[in-house]
């Protein structure tokens, strides 16, 4: 059962994990996983502040934990903006996330992780009402606990929940999904082996207005197909 012979979509219209193209993996959302009350006693002694908001989102075997700190005094004064809050994102992947000791070990400074961090920041900067929190910082800490494809969309979904948990004002909540294309058939919510084989688009949108706040793609794709996938991505969000 080598991956080189993985069948993306078989003749029965089933994907390698027996999903159909428009089926998402089983999902679970956990809010307030690091509450102030549960960790207050220990944190006061160690000097750690509990996060203001936290969440864990699992999509299939991918699991991401997000903690949000803020709005708070910026760690570095130079970063403060006088009229709005700055959003800082840090992304980390636990060493065992990819499973089996395979895959490249990701460290904090990794280019790839920085890019994911930047994507998350750019997604949320226009959505968070930053003008309500001048001269402060909102820190988003993303920890990928298990990776089986779709790290970015899962992180965005988890971040939305953590921000809500932290009580930070937003225009709308943000939902995100990855969309792949196999021949002419779009597939939703890709798993790791599918991600390796298919061109992929990550869409984040605001479900109530249908606006798109992130569309990221690293592979080349035909324009016609792109349009189809993008609208499918937004449909998916609002259709929930």
């Amino acid at each position: 059962m080598s991956s080189s012979r993985l069948e993306i979509l078989n003749d029965g219209g089933l994907r390698h994990d027996a999903r159909r193209p428009y089926e998402l993996r089983s999902t679970s959302f956990l809010l307030s996983t690091h509450t102030a009350s549960s960790s207050s006693s220990s944190s006061s002694s160690s000097g750690l502040t509990p996060p203001d908001g936290s969440s864990t989102v699992t999509q299939g075997l991918t699991s991401v934990q997000v903690t949000v700190f803020g709005p708070r005094e910026p760690k570095q004064r130079s970063q403060a903006a006088h009229d709005r809050a700055t959003v800082v994102v840090e992304v980390g992947v636990v060493p065992w996330a990819a499973g089996g000791g395979g895959g490249a070990k990701r460290t904090r400074g990794d280019k790839r992780l920085q890019e994911i961090g930047a994507a998350i920041r750019q997604t949320f900067e226009p959505v968070i009402m930053t003008h309500l929190y001048p001269r402060s910082e909102i820190a988003i800490n993303v920890q990928v606990l298990a990776a089986d494809g779709g790290i970015l969309p899962t992180s965005i979904n988890a971040t939305t929940l953590a921000l809500i948990d932290a009580g930070i004002s937003m225009l709308d909540y943000v939902t995100s999904i990855s969309i792949g294309l196999h021949l002419l058939q779009p597939l939703l919510d890709l798993s790791q082996p599918e991600e390796l084989d298919l061109p992929m688009l990550v869409v984040a949108s605001l479900p109530s207005s249908g606006k798109i706040t992130l569309a990221q793609m690293e592979t080349r794709l035909h324009v016609d197909r792109f349009e189809e996938m993008l609208s499918l991505g937004t449909d998916e969000k609002s259709g929930r």
Binding site: G12, Y22, R25, S26, S191, I212, H222, E227, S231, L232
Partner: protein
């Protein structure tokens, strides 16, 4: 990356609802697959994949009440199963097939009656895919055949039949095989239960498997399991007789009937050792090419080495069959040899071999003796000619078998007299049509019927203690020498796909069928969008007589500014054949139309090829036009490309066009247009010749057929070349070059081009040597221009055909032209050597060549008519497609040639009968083109026929240095015959007694009769 807030209009296409799968607690054990995988660097990784189980996998039963709403449910499996079986009557039965049936009994599987319902568990498909891609593809073809009742059951995806690897304290972790077997048995359990819910009279489910272990477990679980042999044995009536030969021996048989273990061959090394050896350079990997003149010799072309590796003798070739990818070990240099110079015919040498018995002692001795003497001679030879020595090696393993079905004859001599009438199973030899293949041992019950038939045989295995490979009978093609059988065997031998176009493909044709016409010109008409209206131009087409697929038409006229406008109009195939539909995939797989003497195997359905796309006269047709503005010297001032609509004014044959042009009394615009084109073509040709284009020669023959009905050939003649042939050719070349430059400029990475690499100088060495020694002529091969010039000077004043012969031989030294993707090679290798142009493609025959269709699509994107399909933007996809097209093109050429050869044979026979000489002999002059130690290869230019004359007695002397053979005359003096000498030969068609194969036999009559030699 784009991050912006854009409102997107809601979805343009409706799609099924988007859902999130919820996992039930009970599914948890089935939710993951975990396995270990070794990476390329030898690291072992444990991989965990998610997996869902479903309840909505349809069962395919026509009366099923449970599955009726599931996506993909179709009524495939009938209410009553197959009843024509002795053991499973009543409600009939359905078959469930195991993987080993697909792997070993594929031919049987395809031959099973179409009404027999078969359930294929996905485990079987997956395992087949993992084991053998060709078999997987054949299985897919079978499954997609709509006339059959075959249903794929996605067993691993359905909750009831999903399996997990079991762990047992006693036996440890369950093996992959056992698990797959269990999964397949689970399918039978499920179906039995599932059917009970919908019907009270469910058909019986029968597991077809050749694995005895699996059968035993199945029986103990209360299932019915049967081996392929037993199953076929129980079939009723004709089906049984039809299928019984298709059953491969089977796994069971080999394990019970152990053969005497006398080894002839060495075992192959394990796969790991081979890959490691190739990597370290200890072994070499390459394609095995059997020598068609000597069955005990073969070559392996190894990419890394300058010279091919020579394999001498059966042991060294170690069970490789022509086309296999093998791994060879090179012997120490002291044991290197030169290739033999003798013709050793397998049929003759091994005439007395017994099919039943491997160790026919007599044969073995004889062969050994022969080999010994041969080795000795080879050694003598080797000392004499050190430059011919090749690295010599032996095969240590086979990476990939390229076995396919071979067209064979049953060897009559391998049948005993008594067996000629018996219907018992017996072992016979099948001799393949191609001389580079070994004979195949075959077990059949219908030997007497097969004697005079052409049959299709596949090789199943070749064990170490068997001199010949074992095979099985696939089907009969028909009587030997009947035209249908010969034609089909030709197509099979050259792997030409000749099945009629399927329903899905024909569904891609325009709905109007042959009523389709170019619609009226309206602004909103889709056909007329961005098309030029060239209906008023005086366009005509010039083709060979009887041509139905007219690809191209031409026009020329004077422009007011004194320049000349010339246009080439090509059938707009890309308007009808859209990328990525079934018709397109079929055309890509066929690659080219194949022309046989009396049959054409179309690449596109006939409706398009001979009607809608064909630029027939007096009707409006869509075209893709290349239009030049040229000055009087035929230099291009301007070129433009446009989609257009034309109406051809006339369809000429070459001859008609020639006559019209030469008829001075005609002054109409059409004739003027042809004259104008002709004058331009002459200048174009002169320009090309100046640039160093070669005019090469290969014998082109024309077969006269009696009438289209009987297709009896009467005679053969060489094709005539007229001025108008060259006219059309020049303009097609020009169009191709212009298009090539345009698409290369627009799509530098993926343009579909054609090139002809300059041949390595060493290729000409032998020819140069022969010419020098025999005729004192030199051949300058420094460039194509120099070669063209020196070829022109190779003339014998009293031998007009000598020049043609040299050209033919020079052509054989060259590489063949090929399609390629512009991004995959460096730009300075784009050139076309033969045409002496820096860039070239094929654009002008989209009806019959697939590469042209691709070029059309790219050009149409280059002029912004349509966007380029994504597949044509992917380099790897273009490369892959062109690789297929190149191969098909080569095979099609060979098939065409073989077809001509067959008809030449028939024509010779007819000619012999007509002259009343009785024995069907024809006397012709021939040139010697090669000398062997015991014979001559000759070329009859009048018939385009090559033949072999062998001397069996050792009375002649062979002088390899001077390419001369000295043959004694009747009076004792000697005559020397060398390469390029003209001799007279008698040609006859001789039927081989054993193989029933019609062979062209040549006998020299002058200067010496070779009959007694």
């Amino acid at each position: 990356m784009a991050a912006a807030q854009v409102a997107v209009p809601s979805s343009s296409k409706p799609h099924p609802p988007i859902t999130i799968l919820k996992r039930a607690r009970t599914d948890v054990p089935l939710s993951h697959t975990k396995f270990l995988k070794k990476t390329a660097r030898g690291k072992v990784m444990s991989i965990l994949r998610e997996r869902y189980v479903r309840d909505d996998i349809p069962c395919g039963f026509e009366d099923c009440t449970l599955c009726i709403d599931f996506p993909g449910q179709r009524s495939v499996l009938p209410r009553t199963g197959y009843t024509q079986h002795h053991n499973f009557a009543g409600n009939g039965h359905w078959l469930v097939i195991d993987t080993n049936i697909v792997l070993h009994q594929m031919d049987l599987l395809t031959a099973l009656p179409a009404t027999l319902p078969i359930v294929v568990p996905s485990t079987t498909i997956r395992e087949t895919r993992h084991r053998s891609l060709p078999l997987y593809n054949r299985l897919q073809q079978l499954i997609q055949d709509e006339d059959r009742c075959i249903w794929v059951w996605w067993n691993e995806e359905r909750r009831e039949t999903a399996t997990v690897q079991e762990e047992d304290e006693e036996t440890g972790i369950e093996g992959m095989n056992d698990r797959n077997d269990r999964a397949i048995r689970q399918t039978l359990h499920f179906y039995a239960e599932h059917l009970d819910a919908s019907t009270s009279k469910a058909p019986q489910l029968v597991l077809l498997t050749d694995d005895r272990g699996n059968r035993e477990i199945a029986n103990s679980e209360g299932l019915t399991a049967v081996s392929a042999r037993d199953y076929v044995d129980g079939l009723q009536g004709e089906e049984r007789a039809r299928l019984v030969d298709l059953v491969v021996g089977g796994v069971d048989e080999v394990s019970t009937g152990e053969r005497r273990a006398k080894r002839i061959y060495q075992d192959y090394l394990p796969q790991d050792t081979l890959t490691a050896g190739v990597k370290t350079g200890r072994y070499h990997q390459g394609h095995f090419n059997a020598n068609q003149y000597n069955y005990l010799e073969g070559m392996v072309n190894v990419p890394g080495l300058a010279k091919p590796v020579l394999l001498v003798g059966r042991e060294a070739m170690n069970r490789s069959v022509n086309g296999d990818i093998v791994v060879v070990e090179i012997l120490p240099e002291a044991e290197w040899k030169a290739p033999g110079e003798e013709v050793v015919d397998q049929d003759v040498a091994l005439r007395d071999d017994d099919a039943d018995d491997d160790e026919g002692a007599g044969v073995l001795d004889k062969e050994l003796e022969q080999q010994k003497s041969e080795t000795k001679e080879v050694e003598d030879e080797t000392r004499k000619k050190p430059r011919d020595i090749l690295p010599t090696g032996r095969v240590v393993g086979v990476v990939k078998r390229n076995w396919r079905a071979y067209v064979c004859h049953v060897d009559r001599s391998s049948l005993s007299e008594a067996a000629l009438t018996s219907l018992a199973q017996q072992t016979v030899f099948a001799t393949p049509l191609s001389t580079s293949l070994p004979r195949i041992r075959l077990r059949t019950r219908q030997a007497p019927q097969l004697l005079d038939q052409k049959i299709l045989v596949t090789i199943d295995s070749w064990s170490v203690n068997s001199r010949y490979p074992d095979g099985h009978f696939v089907r009969s093609l028909g009587q030997v020498e009947s035209k249908e059988a010969e034609q089909e065997s030709l197509l099979l031998e050259y792997e030409v796909p000749y099945r009629p176009f399927g329903k899905a493909i024909l569904g891609c044709l325009p709905e109007e069928g042959d009523k389709w016409v170019v619609p009226e010109k309206k602004p909103d008409s889709l056909e007329w969008r961005d098309r030029e209206d060239l209906r008023d131009l005086i366009v005509c087409s010039i083709d060979p007589p009887g041509c139905q697929d007219i690809d191209d038409a031409l026009h020329a006229r004077r422009l007011p500014n004194g320049n000349i406008e010339a246009g080439v109009h090509i059938a707009d195939v890309s308007h009808f054949v859209h990328p990525d539909n079934p018709m397109d995939s079929e055309a890509a797989a066929r690659g080219t139309t194949v022309y046989l003497v009396d049959k054409r195997i179309d690449m596109l359905p006939a409706l398009l090829g001979t009607n809608l796309c064909s630029l027939r006269p007096f009707v409006e047709r869509l075209a893709f036009s290349v239009i030049w503005e040229m000055n009087e010297q035929a230099e291009i001032v301007k070129v433009r490309f446009a989609k257009s609509v034309i109406a051809s004014k006339e369809a000429f044959t070459y001859e008609e066009a020639q006559l019209r042009k030469d008829n001075k009394t005609l002054k109409d615009p059409l004739t003027d247009s042809i004259r104008l084109l002709n004058s331009l073509a002459i200048k174009l040709k002169a320009g090309r010749m100046r640039a160093g284009a070669l005019s090469l020669s290969s014998p082109e023959l024309k077969i006269h057929l009696d009438s289209s009905e009987s297709a009896e050939p009467i005679d053969v003649e060489q094709k005539q070349q007229r001025e108008t042939n060259s006219l059309v050719e020049e303009f097609m070349l020009l169009a191709n070059i212009s298009v090539a430059a345009k698409i290369q400029e627009t799509f530098p990475a993926t343009a579909v081009l054609r090139r002809h690499s300059p041949p390595p100088k060493t290729n000409f060495e032998a020819l140069q040597d022969i010419l020098m020694k025999r005729k004192g002529m030199t051949l300058d091969v420094s460039s194509s221009g120099a070669l063209a010039k020196s070829l022109d000077s190779c003339v014998e004043p009293n031998e007009p055909e000598f020049n043609t012969l040299v050209r033919i031989m020079a052509t054989r030294c060259m590489l063949s032209a090929e399609y390629f993707c512009s991004g995959s090679v460096s730009k300075d290798t784009y050139g076309h050597y033969g045409l002496a142009t820096p860039i070239y493609t094929h654009f002008t025959s989209p009806i019959r060549r697939y590469a042209d269709v691709l070029a059309h699509r790219q050009l149409s994107a280059a002029i912004n008519y349509t966007p380029l399909h994504p597949s044509l933007q992917s380099k790897s996809h273009v490369e892959k497609t062109l690789k297929v097209v190149n191969r098909r093109h080569r095979l099609a050429q060979m098939a065409g040639r073989a077809s001509v050869e067959f008809y030449v044979g028939l024509a010779l026979k007819a000619r012999g009968a007509a002259t009343g000489s009785g024995d069907g002999r024809t006397r012709e002059e021939a040139f010697v083109i090669r000398t062997f130690k015991n014979g001559l290869a000759v070329f009859v230019s009048k018939l385009g026929l090559e033949g072999l004359i062998t001397f069996n007695k050792e009375t002649h002397h062979y002088d390899a240095e001077n390419y001369t053979i000295n043959v004694p005359k009747a009076d004792g003096s000697e005559v020397s015959i060398s390469v390029f000498d003209k001799i007279t030969v008698d040609i006859s068609i001789e039927k081989d007694q054993n193989t029933q194969r019609g062979k062209v036999k040549m006998v020299m009559v002058s200067p010496v009769s070779s009959e007694g030699l």
